[in-house]
């Protein structure tokens, strides 16, 4: 029974209570199980082949072209959207009542002037909005370019995926690359450009790999993405 209690406790990930710890120290079988349990987390995490991402995006594009997704769902879908809208309105109203600039969109205000946490929260909030709001897109691009925190810049890049349908997005993302001094943000922008899969992305990546001052890691990623786009 002690063996079973000991081994079941492993799943919780919590420290062993005294009696179970004592049992574990004396029981060779439980020690073996514990060792295996810990080794399971060390199993190698293999990477898919370089072509896999490309193949998936091609298949996804085919799938979307074949059956463009209608707005589906039951009666709960409009209710869910309404709930998210009310949430956004509530946050916005709160900001207006707190005396912020009433001419500035509350999310934009938080993106530009909030604390680090508020800026991250505002970026998360963007995903609850309908796409196509040019001001929000500009505010996100501005954060990628100017925010003092790398974490916020990276989050803003991630939020830009939501604006993938914007025709000018690729050009505007490309314009951010030369002025971006942080390699991790450069890498995130390259991933975004590659996901946009537009001709401009290919051109931007070609220009980037010709840049002499590029760090080796960034150059490697850019060349890798370029290879995928050219296939």
């Amino acid at each position: 029974m002690s063996c079973q209690a000991f081994q079941e406790h492993l799943l919780s990930g919590e420290p062993l209570p005294g009696d179970l710890a004592l049992h574990g120290a004396q029981c060779a079988q439980c020690q073996e199980v514990q060792r295996l349990w810990e080794s399971l987390r060390e199993l190698p995490q293999p990477e898919p082949s370089a072509q896999f991402t490309l193949r998936f995006h091609q298949r996804l594009a085919t799938e979307l072209a074949r059956s463009p997704q209608p707005v589906r769902g039951g009666w709960w879908l409009p209710l869910g959207t309404a709930a998210l809208l009310l949430l956004s309105l509530g946050v916005g109203l709160g900001y207006l009542l707190r005396g912020n600039d009433p001419h500035l969109d509350p999310v934009q205000a938080r993106l530009q002037r909030g604390s680090t946490g508020e800026r991250l929260e505002a970026i998360a909030q963007v995903s609850t909005r309908s796409v196509g709001q040019g001001d929000i897109l500009s505010a996100l691009l501005d954060r990628v370019q100017r925010d003092p925190e790398t974490q916020v810049r990276l989050s803003a890049v991630e939020a830009l995926y939501l604006f993938g349908a914007e025709p000018e997005l690729s050009r505007r993302v490309e314009a951010l690359l030369p002025g971006q001094e942080r390699p991790e943000v450069q890498l995130a922008l390259i991933d975004l450009l590659s996901a946009l899969r537009q001709q401009r992305a290919t051109e931007a990546l070609r220009r980037l790999v010709r840049e002499e001052r590029l760090s080796p890691a960034v150059r490697h990623r850019a060349e890798q993405r370029l290879g995928q786009l050219n296939l």
């Binding site: 073996e32 199993l43 190698p44 995006h57 769902g73 879908l77 989050s155």
Partner: protein, 183 residues
């Protein structure tokens, strides 16, 4: 870090933004691929299964419940995809037997397990029935809570712990049995 929550992205996918599937794919395909490789020991098959999961996410997007966690739903689909794959194979040979008997695939070769212990662990794992292998891999995934896993398996956390305990003991049997025959 995911500041744009997966569930929110998924809500947009179900509202017709299928193009956002690329974002969910970028975030989740690597661990999901690793899960399938460790289950099947077959890299190319793991890629096919992984792709099928994300295509089903797109197809079944309307059934995603607003406000629920995305990851458990994704892995529920992954388990279904694997079960369907096994079902298709059943007339020829069960997947477990195929795994144990098949020569390592080129994809599996590329995994290049560095340490002997890890290699032995992989072999012991491969000797387990698929359902136990799957349970052990998921229960060692730090992204899943016991509660979420119990939900995935449709049982209580207590019952889940018993299942893991049994699977672990079977793994131990295979691991040390294999060690004894090694020179």
């Amino acid at each position: 870090m995911e500041t744009v929550d997966d569930s929110m992205v998924m809500n947009q996918v179900r509202a017709g933004r299928g193009d956002l599937m690329g974002l969910l794919f970028d975030r989740h395909h690597r661990p999901l691929y690793g899960f399938f490789v460790n289950l099947t020991r077959n890299g190319p098959l793991a890629e096919d299964l992984c792709q099928e999961v994300f295509l089903r996410v797109l197809r079944y997007a309307p059934s995603f419940r607003v406000g629920s966690a995305f990851r458990p739903w994704l892995y529920q689909i992954a388990r279904n995809v694997l079960a369907d794959h096994r079902q298709r194979l059943r007339p020829q040979a069960p997947l477990e037997a195929a795994d144990q008997l098949a020569d390592p695939q080129p994809g599996a070769q590329a995994l290049a397990i560095a340490q002997a212990d890890a290699a032995r662990l992989g072999e012991a794992l491969a000797r387990l029935p698929l359902d136990k292998r799957e349970l052990l891999l998921l229960s060692r995934d730090p992204e899943f809570s016991t509660q979420e896993l119990a939900g995935l398996y449709g049982c209580t956390p207590g019952a889940l712990k018993v299942r893991v305990h049994r699977a672990l003991n079977d793994l131990r049997t295979h691991f040390f049995a294999h060690q004894e025959v090694m020179p």
